[in-house]
């Protein structure tokens, strides 16, 4: 019993940092509607800056002073990021900003590497709090008790700030209706900057505060961001008490998980999140988001049309060029092209539900990796002929999408995104931990194509036909009644339902089709590489697809494909350099700022402007 209690206290102590970071994220999302992926990076910066300051400043005052200074410093960095990166793109389509924050992650990662080096730092012990206290005979770190005492104070301080001060009134008003707040003469730009700075400062404080327990390393940003999103979603987006309760639940469960069910630790919080979202679709204390509340930002999408003859000829010429490529390109180029087509099909399948359906999935890699694993498992365990195993890639991924979609479709917006993320984490942990079947992170190897397809050139044509065929099929569906029904449900669910369209069923079907096509991409992928590892199912893989879709342009049909092509080329070129993350991050941020409608969308706008000028002349 005493042991239980001690464990519980450890969990409570761990909740402190998690709550700080999560409350910052929740605040930022509530006001600016930005899903800030870079929030984990601010946490990491907090840890590194805190360690550095603590080395300089001595004693009690030095320790606690460093923590406060760190919060201030990270807040300033946050303000800078907001002003330089985010302020120019608030009018871009919803969720577009998350691409920019992803760029920020990459930049901060390399900057931290440059400044602090690759070595992990151990955090200093808090002066005067080095030992343990015995509670019911069990040892509990003194610092843990202090953290447990601090957390409610922070919660109260934040609550006071939000619900009792003038700034808090403005923040709450902006959460509900930012246009109205602007109309009432509040300088929105500074309000946003202020909130972003405050949110970042909280993350920085969290990073510094956990130093005596954890230290600082370069993986902290990605390690915490998943948990932070889980906490915010379980608690309910924008709810501080919700974030607090969820931090406690997750932290305590984690402590017990580590003790009693070690293999569960990777997925435990995602399981909890999935259960909460299935029972309470808007989190424990969240309010229902009214559909269209945040509406479409920016210019409305233009009606779609197939390419005019000139465009069709251009596409045909490009495809012809691809078909002739083996005649003059070397093997390296062909392999790069295979990667590109696979990624383009994967991105196009995500673009299908994201662009036409307005369904932002954070877990699309589950279907890409799921398809790859389905085929690989058949080959690996049953020596299934490649042709048959390959067919199972889209089939299994489609069935998986039906199963996951059945739970996710009922949610919308960020909650839909997070539930897809949770399920993709489940699939990932299955591949990672069910070693008997999947061989864990050793991966499945020796998954080669059939005799008639072995060799780069035959497989290149195989990829070209199926990959390009898949992309063209998806485009065709977008132009068909099904694609129109999908867009109708996105544009006005109310009108769609009032004219006989079962919006959820259409979305369910689209989700399954997108899953199957991602599985097809996964199938091509696994036989081109000869192996598959759990990394293909990771969150990062899902985000890669998401980012190229946004970069290419959500509101344009070619967006996913062009984004994927662009990204494959840029990555291939940049990853040869030492600080490639920094450069890639800067490239992403630059594209986001220069082309807020995505690459294709911005080209189209530019083109329209040129034509317009010609017409006027």
């Amino acid at each position: 019993m005493a042991f239980f209690f001690a464990q519980f206290l450890t969990g409570l102590a761990n909740a402190a940092a998690l709550f700080l970071v999560a409350s910052g994220l929740s605040l930022i999302f509530g006001v600016t509607r930005i899903v800030n992926f870079a929030h984990g990076s601010f946490y990491m910066l907090g840890a590194f800056i805190g360690v550095t300051l603590m080395e300089i400043l001595p004693g009690h005052v030095g320790f606690w002073g460093s923590i406060l200074l760190t919060g201030l410093a990270v807040g300033l960095i946050g303000a800078l990021v907001e002003m330089v990166v985010l302020r120019p793109i608030y009018r871009a389509p919803e969720l577009f900003q998350l691409v920019a924050t992803f760029g920020v992650i990459l930049v901060i990662q390399d900057l931290a590497l440059m400044v602090w080096g690759a070595e992990d730092r151990l955090g200093p012990r808090a002066p005067g709090l080095r030992g343990i206290w015995r509670i019911f005979g069990e040892p509990v770190l003194k610092y843990d008790i202090v953290l447990i005492a601090i957390t409610p104070v922070i919660l109260f301080a934040l609550w006071y700030l939000i619900s009792r001060t003038r700034l808090g009134v403005l923040v709450r008003a902006a959460t509900q209706d930012r246009e109205m707040v602007g109309a009432l003469g509040v300088n929105q730009a500074w309000l946003f900057t202020g909130v972003f700075a405050l949110g970042s400062a909280l993350a920085g404080l969290g990073g510094a505060l956990q130093l005596p327990k954890g230290g600082a390393d370069l993986l902290m940003d990605f390690n915490i961001i998943g948990a932070v999103f889980v906490v915010v979603v379980i608690g309910g987006m924008g709810s501080l008490p919700g974030a607090f309760i969820a931090s406690v639940i997750i932290s305590v469960l984690n402590v017990f998980g580590v003790t009693y069910l070690p293999q569960s630790t990777l997925v435990l919080m995602f399981v909890v999140m999935a259960v909460v979202l299935i029972i309470r679709p808007y989190g424990l204390l969240g309010r229902e988001e009214v559909a269209g509340e945040h509406g479409q930002v920016g210019a409305p999408e233009t009606p779609i049309r197939p390419y005019p003859p000139a465009g069709q000829i251009a596409v045909a010429a490009f495809l012809g060029l691809l078909a002739l490529l083996p005649l003059f390109a070397d093997q390296f180029v062909l392999i790069l092209m295979i990667d590109m087509v696979v990624f383009a099909l994967f991105a196009a399948s995500l673009h299908f539900i994201l662009g036409s359906g307005g369904m932002v999935s954070f877990g699309h890699a589950a279907f890409f990796g799921g398809g790859a694993y389905a085929a690989a498992l058949l080959v690996f365990h049953f020596d299934t002929p490649m042709e048959l195993a390959f067919l199972f890639a889209p089939l299994a991924a489609g069935i998986l999408a039906l199963a996951i979609g059945w739970f996710c479709i009922r949610l919308t917006g960020v909650y839909f995104a997070m539930l897809t993320l949770a399920f993709s984490q489940l699939v990932w942990s299955l591949a990672y931990q069910w070693r008997d079947v999947t061989r864990g992170d050793d991966g499945l190897v020796n998954i080669w194509p059939a005799e008639w397809l072995s060799g780069t050139v035959p497989y290149y044509y195989f990829t070209l036909i199926l990959g390009v065929g898949g992309i063209i099929f998806l485009r065709h569906v977008i132009h068909a009644p099904f694609g129109y029904a999908l867009r109708a449900g996105r544009d006005s669910p109310r009108q769609a339902e009032a004219t006989g369209i079962d919006v959820k069923r259409v979305q369910f079907g689209a989700f399954a089709l997108a899953g199957a096509m991602a599985g097809l991409a996964g199938g091509i992928f696994v036989f081109s590489k000869g192996s598959v590892f759990p990394t293909e199912l990771e969150i990062a893989a899902s985000f890669d697809a998401l980012i190229v879709v946004f970069l290419g342009g959500v509101k344009t049909l070619a967006g996913g494909v062009v984004g994927a092509g662009f990204m494959t080329l840029v990555e291939d070129w940049l990853t040869r350099l030492e600080y490639w993350r920094l450069l890639l991050g800067l490239v992403i941020i630059a594209v986001v700022i220069i082309a807020p409608e995505g690459i294709v969308g911005s080209f189209r706008t530019l083109w329209a402007r040129i034509r317009h000028k010609e017409d006027a002349a």
């Binding site: 009644p481 029904a485 009108q495």
Partner: protein, 256 residues
């Protein structure tokens, strides 16, 4: 005359507040009937319960004698009820005619077909519906650049697509210029006369209501206080009380 719609003791309460309190009425075939009342009287709540956007707390809705209470909007639509909204809901990423084609595709059960090009389907038919509401000249414009009054007319065209027997129009002329209001109501009256459709509409403009409606119902604080022809409603003392505040409003204005 046959009865299309019958509503019995419809109630809707929000946390104990009765937005609609025991409303009963019926709509006959070929009837153009208005539901009027001050703001917050419960008109839109009533409409949302008729079409299934809201579930009634109590009471029943019969369509051609069939109990459709609590059915979903799309199921009620399939039974021949069309609806336009107070705040228009159109597909902004499509052209005007595609909006109509979308409803036709739904009507013809083509929503899940993945092969034909959508904009080729039912185009002529859709064009005819646009002509009905005088929107044919704007058929290929993007819906997102339409003026508000045109959106209202487009919504009417969409609602006519499955040749409904009953049309529910929630403030069809709100936000329109006076001349456009008269035009739209004349159009609605023509549709009622030519196609035998029944129309139930809410409206704030009393000129529109008294000029066109065959029968008028007055809703106040969730309760129906009058149901009859224009003359009867005009002379109803309770209605006068609600709308004219017992006539004092005019008297005061005259005194001032």
């Amino acid at each position: 005359m046959t009865e299309i719609l019958r509503v019995e003791h419809l109630k809707k309460s929000y946390d104990g507040f009765l937005a609609v309190n025991g409303v009963s009425f019926s709509v006959q075939q070929g009837e153009l009937k208005a539901l009027i009342g001050p703001n917050g009287a419960g008109k839109s709540t009533c409409f949302n319960m008729l079409m299934g956007q809201l579930k009634p707390t109590e009471g029943e809705v019969f369509l051609d004698g069939e109990n459709v209470t609590g059915k979903r909007p799309r199921d009620i639509w399939r039974r021949g009820v069309g609806r336009t909204f107070q705040i228009t809901g159109t597909y902004q990423s499509m052209t005007v005619i595609e909006n109509v084609q979308m409803a036709l595709m739904s009507h013809n059960h083509r929503l899940f077909s993945v092969w034909p090009r959508a904009w080729k389907l039912y185009r002529e038919e859709a064009f005819e519906f646009l002509e009905t509401v005088s929107m044919a000249d704007q058929a290929d414009r993007p819906c997102s650049i339409l003026a508000y009054g045109d959106l209202k007319r487009l919504e009417l065209a969409i609602a006519l697509c499955h040749r409904p027997r009953l049309l529910l129009m929630d403030e069809p002329t709100a936000g329109m210029a006076p001349s456009a209001r008269i035009e739209l109501m004349q159009l609605t009256a023509d549709i009622v006369r030519d196609q035998g459709v029944s129309v139930l509409f809410t409206e704030h403009d009393m000129d529109v209501v008294f000029a066109h409606a065959h029968h008028i119902m007055v809703l106040n604080r969730g309760e129906l206080i009058a149901d009859g022809d224009a003359e009867a409603v005009r002379n109803n003392p309770q209605v006068q009380e609600v709308y004219l505040g017992g006539g004092t409003l005019f008297k005061e204005a005259a005194d001032a």
